[in-house]
Symmetry: C2
Subunit: 135 residues, 2 copies
DNA sequence: GTAGATGCAAAGTATTTGCGACAAG
DNA sequence: CTTGTCGCAAATACTTTGCATCTAC
């Protein structure tokens, strides 16, 4: 098991409050990719006094601190997931909305190569595959 | 030179109006990837009576008809570009916002392979590279 | 002639922010 | 103590929509 979100906050100098601890806990326990509304719902069950403004402020802060990753999949709201060492991309089922995570080293290295070819150093990338389940 | 947007509308059964013709013309002449506001500005210079609601309605219609492609690059507004046969992905300069188009067949086929491996048929994908210019 | 398009302003979403009260370090 | 955070409600940004009118086919 790697560092918890709380530990990451400490090591990155992000002040911990009760609200942030609850949000961190909920994100850690989420295996899906909740949007802010959904996250707010889950957080509210633990502490109903936390406002949605705080949830917005916190996910933004965590994102800027490299603790959470924000995804804006096709035409839907922003969704978040915990960022761990293992980078991965997403395959989205366009029928069900299910999200599958995957890693493909070959694609990763080709991306770097493409950027280099155009005189750029690759800093970040986004790869989303949209598909339908084969019968 | 390939089909104009007007021709595409005709072949796809999209009714042509003066407003749509102006929007089509502006998009054809744009070599960048304008957002709705910018498109509205350009369109207004030709016909100042066209409303922004019509611009929104038209880009949506054109997108659904496969005439325009909508992109939602990191944290910015939706941007549009004309869709031609040649599919391509984007390399975005994170310093200047400049957008470079590229095609890499190898990555394309690997994407299909990844989807297949997970039991999916690839329907669509999004690949964005973010980089900084090398000195 | 009729179904669909337009302009306008009002209504929706998603997200951010000003401010006074409050809490972490 | 002091700086940053919180909750609240209002504000903002982007996009959609109801309705009366108009237009392409």
């Amino acid at each position: 098991m790697s560092e918890t979100i709380e530990q990451k906050c400490l090591s990155k100098g992000v002040k911990l409050t009760d609200q942030r601890r609850v949000i961190a806990q909920v994100m850690s326990e989420s295996t899906d990719h909740p949007d802010v509304d959904e996250l707010y719902n889950r957080v509210s069950k633990i502490d109903s006094k936390i406002s949605i403004a705080t949830v917005y402020r916190t996910v933004k802060l965590f994102e800027e601190s490299g603790i959470l990753a924000k995804h804006e999949f096709k035409g839907s709201k922003a969704r978040y997931e915990e960022l761990n060492e293992g980078h991965h991309d997403h395959l989205i089922d366009i029928k069900t909305g299910e999200i599958i995570e995957f890693v493909d080293e070959e694609i990763e290295s080709l991306q770097k190569k493409v950027a280099e070819k155009h005189g750029y150093t690759l800093v970040d990338h986004k790869l989303e595959l949209y598909g339908v389940k084969k019968k």
